[in-house]
């Protein structure tokens, strides 16, 4: 078919007059069975490049796309052109998905859209073997590359699939955002002679601006002034979920219709907001970067970033949603130089500590497990487990496999050791990308040209204006913002009518202002009762939210480790509110502090059946105000509400000082000075930066190599366990007795001395030249990875510090016999050892020796 013939069909089927030259270039090659990577800006018409050939091929074109909302829009479009198209996704009923697969098997579909995660779905995999396939399309192909801004592990399987397809089977990969490095990576991964077609990325209808401010409050004020001048709708991007609430609340406070959107909302709520934005029910949606890829609205008139994105690619992607209709659109970055701290924090904390990887590997060695099972077994947050599993799969250490109907993760036989150097490489890469974004914000020149060039479009596009100015709010705006802060209290979203629980309120977010620091000082550093200004702030929150409520009784959550702090606090509140207080809500069994547990499953288990009320008749028919200091997952509040409701309470209303949103990686820690010592993840990375790989030591042989303290006899050193396992595998491989590989004495010496270099290795008793020659490299790598993973430090000046709770978690995992039933009264002793920079092994030895008397 030549171009003329094709354009005739284009007119007949799609109603378009002709192809762009680049479109025809791609279509012609696909029709000849070639593979193409197409990088073109949003609004170019990439979809036509596969939709047209799909109508010409016999068979079904399968389009892998991560964007459910866009799938739906595309299908509506194709059906309107009488082209049979369907999609399979998780938002549809299983029966509906199966019916679609049946149609595909019968050859009744020209285009089938499917999410990459479906490659794990049995029904799909069974069906696809019987579908007459014509072409594969990979949408948002930048998700293939770890060097891209939105790597998704599910795309790995798509790449593997493409590499197994016959060479003359047409494949199209499309994206609007890929740097040269990402494009090269995609081409390398797809293989099979894939060709690159790259168009220009300029968006001539964009009006760019960078507004320099000195504070978050200035951003709030500017935004209000800006929105007052806008006619259309748009998106305001923030860096954190907390800020989506804050900004949306502010905009509503000053009279704009705004919704907040983030990945923490359920699917229904997100769909509702997406629909509302498309229908212009909101003037703006305030969102994290969770919104953007899911929206197909051609007339977004502005996009404002209140926080520095992680890179120019992220920025280009996020602003790319604006002005698809070609009309002028305002693109604004609100920039405060202090803003770089947040993305820096996320980069540094993008990965859990290395010892947590080891926990997951150890758990998987025993049995295949899914994410929930790993969360329980390894006591990790969902996000930590997901990141760790993603890395383990990426490095071919683990894989996801099917066990019956379940998907579980399993270790690979002969898995390589964890390559933590790759993490450092990625981290450095992300830091360079952030520098690129800071350069955009701070440079005096360049706007769209800078962004396009960064993404590999080096063409000269002429006009490259970007307005750059400073903004200082007026006194009137400053006052309005202050008034807003005084009245904006975080909501505790726990409503559950079945147990009489209503949404509560907190005086502040943990980490905003200095509330977190004050609470920490009182709870963990013998700072005394919660001060009166916390009482006042909490009272204000309560009165603002529940001014019309009448409470019959005030109860407080019984403490795990903070003594009478909450009780005394509750008494002050009760007096001020003139509500009778009761101290009869007590624990029916001991529990651990909730913060020990990293995920909601374990938190729930921890408090299950843990409370009772001593005089149930007081509760029947009562409206209860339930007070606590910190709200995290809400598991404690919900458990107590369940019990009180069971005793006849008609309403339970929670009231707390501060609301967190979870773990160390959570943004809520970020807005104030951090009040825990450096986390292992961050200190690990700093250590990698500064420590030379091979530190020469001029010491006499076998005498003064650095040593670790011996552990108590009843506890096997975890490094010895690992070395013994390695020895067993080596003996089996070589078909020789284990002691011929390495003696047990040598193993013990290695575990104690932890040699870092070949010369250190030769100084270890029991390791001769022959052994070092045969196994030296392997041993050094094994020891390096294991030592890092177990937080065990060689006695040297740069020992690492950890927070108390992190250390306790670690100690429990390594030495359950010693730390399994830890008493909080001994925290001060443990804190002292941390301050003295004792190693994990020394701490274990100290408490292990004292075990018989202390416990």
């Amino acid at each position: 078919m030549n171009r003329e013939q094709a354009e005739q069909k284009l007119r007949d089927i799609f109603g378009h007059a002709r192809f762009h030259d680049e479109q025809w270039q791609v279509i012609e090659r696909l029709m000849a069975g070639e593979r193409i990577l197409m990088i073109e800006k949003t609004g170019f018409g990439k979809s036509l490049c596969y939709q047209f050939p799909a109508t010409q091929f016999s068979g079904t074109t399968v389009v892998f796309s991560p964007l459910i909302a866009l799938m739906r829009d595309q299908i509506s479009y194709l059906r309107a052109k009488n082209i049979s198209a369907e999609c399979i996704n998780s938002e549809q009923e299983t029966a509906a998905n199966h019916a679609i697969l049946e149609r595909a098997k019968k050859g009744q579909l020209k285009v089938l859209y499917i999410a990459p995660e479906r490659q794990e779905d049995q029904a799909w995999l069974e069906a696809v073997r019987r579908i007459n396939l014509a072409m594969i399309v990979i949408d948002e192909a930048h998700c293939i590359s770890v060097w891209g801004h939105d790597f998704r592990p599910a795309f790995r399987r798509i790449i593997n699939l493409v590499r197994l397809l016959p060479n003359n089977f047409p494949v199209l990969a499309t994206t609007a955002t890929a740097t040269t490095r990402v494009a090269d990576d995609i081409i390398k991964q797809i293989g099979g002679g894939v060709q690159l077609v790259r168009g220009d990325l300029m968006r001539p209808n964009f009006r760019l601006a960078v507004i320099r401010v000195d504070s978050e409050d200035a951003k709030l004020a500017w935004l209000a002034e800006f929105l007052a001048l806008q006619n259309g709708t748009g998106i305001v991007y923030t860096g954190t979920r907390v800020n989506t609430e804050l900004y949306a609340n502010w905009l509503r406070h000053v009279g704009f219709s705004a919704a907040n959107y983030n990945a923490g909302l359920d699917a229904e709520a997100r769909k509702k907001i997406e629909k509302g934005l498309k229908a212009n029910r909101y003037q703006c949606v305030v969102s994290t970067n969770a919104l953007g890829m899911g929206i197909d609205k051609p007339d977004l008139r502005f996009i404002v970033h209140t926080q520095l994105p992680a890179s120019p690619i992220h920025y280009y992607q996020e602003i790319g949603r604006a002005g698809r209709d070609g009309l002028p659109s305002r693109i604004v970055l609100l920039y405060n130089p202090a803003d770089k701290d947040l993305p820096l924090f996320f980069i540094k904390n993008s990965r859990p500590a290395l010892n947590l990887y080891q926990r997951v590997i150890t758990a998987l060695r025993a049995a295949p497990m899914n994410e929930f099972e790993l969360m329980r077994k390894a006591n990790l947050e969902a996000k930590q487990v997901r990141v760790i599993l993603g890395d383990l799969v990426e490095q071919n250490i683990a894989r996801e496999a099917r066990y019956g109907k379940q998907h579980k993760y399993e270790l690979q036989h002969k898995a390589p050791p964890l390559n933590s150097k790759m993490f450092e490489e990625l981290r450095q890469f992300k830091l360079r990308e952030l520098d690129g974004m800071i350069a955009y914000a701070e440079t005096k020149n360049g706007g769209m040209q800078y962004l396009c060039s960064y993404l590999g479009d080096r063409a000269e596009h002429g006009n490259d204006d970007c307005v750059r100015r400073r903004y200082v709010p007026s006194a009137a705006w400053k006052k309005r913002v202050a008034e807003f802060h005084a009245s904006d209290y975080p909501v505790l979203e726990v409503q559950d009518a079945a147990i009489g629980l209503v949404n509560g309120v907190a005086a502040s977010y943990y980490g905003f202002s200095n509330i977190g620091a004050v609470i920490h000082r009182c709870k963990y550093q013998h700072g005394g009762d919660f001060p009166d200004d916390l009482v006042q702030q909490t009272l204000q929150a309560c009165r603002a939210r529940f001014s019309k409520e009448k409470f019959d009784r005030l109860l407080h959550v019984p403490p795990t480790e903070s003594g009478d702090l909450v009780r005394n606090f509750a008494e002050k509140l009760a007096r001020a509110l003139a509500v009778p207080i009761s101290h009869r809500l007590v624990k029916s069994k001991p529990t651990q502090p909730q913060k020990v547990f990293q995920n909601s499953l374990l938190k729930r288990d921890n408090v299950k059946d843990a409370f009772r009320y001593e005089k149930p008749e007081e509760i029947a028919g009562a409206s209860i105000l339930l007070v606590d200091d910190i709200f995290d997952s809400g598991a404690t509040i919900k458990e107590i509400a369940k019990i009180l409701h069971g005793l006849g309470a008609i309403k339970i209303t929670p009231l707390v000082i501060a609301k967190t949103i979870g773990s160390v990686q959570d943004d809520s820690h970020f807005s104030s000075k951090r009040n825990v010592v450096a986390t292992p993840a961050m200190r690990q990375e700093e250590k990698v930066d500064s420590a030379p790989l091979d530190t020469p030591k001029s010491v006499s042989p076998k005498a003064s190599a650095p040593t670790r303290t011996w552990l108590p006899d009843h506890v096997e050193d975890p490094i010895v366990t690992i070395l013994k396992r390695w020895r067993r595998q080596k003996a089996r491989e070589k078909k020789i007795p284990a002691f011929c590989v390495l003696s047990t004495k040598a193993i013990n010496n290695l575990a104690q001395q932890l040699p870092k270099t070949s010369s250190d290795l030769l100084k270890v008793r029991g390791v001769g030249k022959a052994t070092a020659g045969k196994y030296g490299e392997e041993l050094l790598l094994l020891l390096h990875n294991t030592a890092e993973a177990n937080l065990i430090q060689i006695v040297d000046p740069d020992k690492m510090r950890v927070s108390l709770q992190e250390l306790l978690q670690e100690l429990r995992g390594l030495y359950p016999n010693i730390f399994g039933h830890w008493r909080p009264e001994r925290n001060h002793e443990l804190l002292k050892m941390i301050e003295q920079k004792k190693t994990v092994a020394e701490i274990a030895q100290h408490f292990g020796r004292k075990k018989s008397t202390a416990y």
Partner: protein, 292 residues
Amino acid sequence: MDSENPYWIALAHLPRWRTERINQLLIVILHRRQITLQEFFALSPDNWQKDFALTATEAVKMNETKAELPNYAFLAEELLAQGFQIIPINAPEYSPMLKKNLQIKHAPPVLYVKGNIKQLHEPTVAVVGSREASERALQFADAIAKKCAAEFRVVVSGFAKGVDKQALDSSLKYGGHSIIVLPQGIMTFGSGFKKYYPQIVEGDVLVLSTFFPKAGWDAGLAMARNVYIYGLAEEIYVAESNETGGTWTGVMDGLKKGRTIYVRRPESDEKNANQLLIAKGAMAVDAEGNVL
């Protein structure tokens, strides 16, 4: 990852093609013409008939299979994602013992495996016998497995109940290595992978199948896989046999092919066909596996 895997799967399971015919075609493609399977499939049906001696009917079937190659790509990707490996007959990892014992007539074109593939190159011993095995037979299987573990020899087991399972479990108990030869497609083994997961991860067990990956358990496949158990083994030990059934058929077939087969000498009170097998040429061994 080998991009030729979909072609291997397609060829290995051509409908109504015997193993020998498939292997003959492979020899022509890979050795005589020295082209890849991809290049072969890129040719036309006329080329296949002219240069590869396919009949007209075979060429039609081959063309149908060619159209299904993208679908085989999905299957190959699924195998890869689940951690299975595909070992074609021309791969260095393929079991040399299997090639030697089964030759062009019966050597499977493709092995589907999961676990420690080095075991395919280690000395191997098959321990076979009845499903309804006596206590003595099970003890014999245990003794052989123990001996194999001590001598670093791999136990090949069919995973059937009775002697097969005993040999496998004993091998693992004594710290030995085992190959499980499945009577079904490897992707349908399900609970077996969970049960032997730690051993697979540690490298003590290799699971192997020669059948279409999604084929469910089938009595016919159970009989068919005996050939491969015997084929993988250097030595064969028979714990107990009846006068009919898979064990009897396998031993008789092995004796016909001149294989060395060791059969446990039965006690006087036993009612099985062991003595008969010894009379037909198998070598008698005692309860510990020592030649008598």
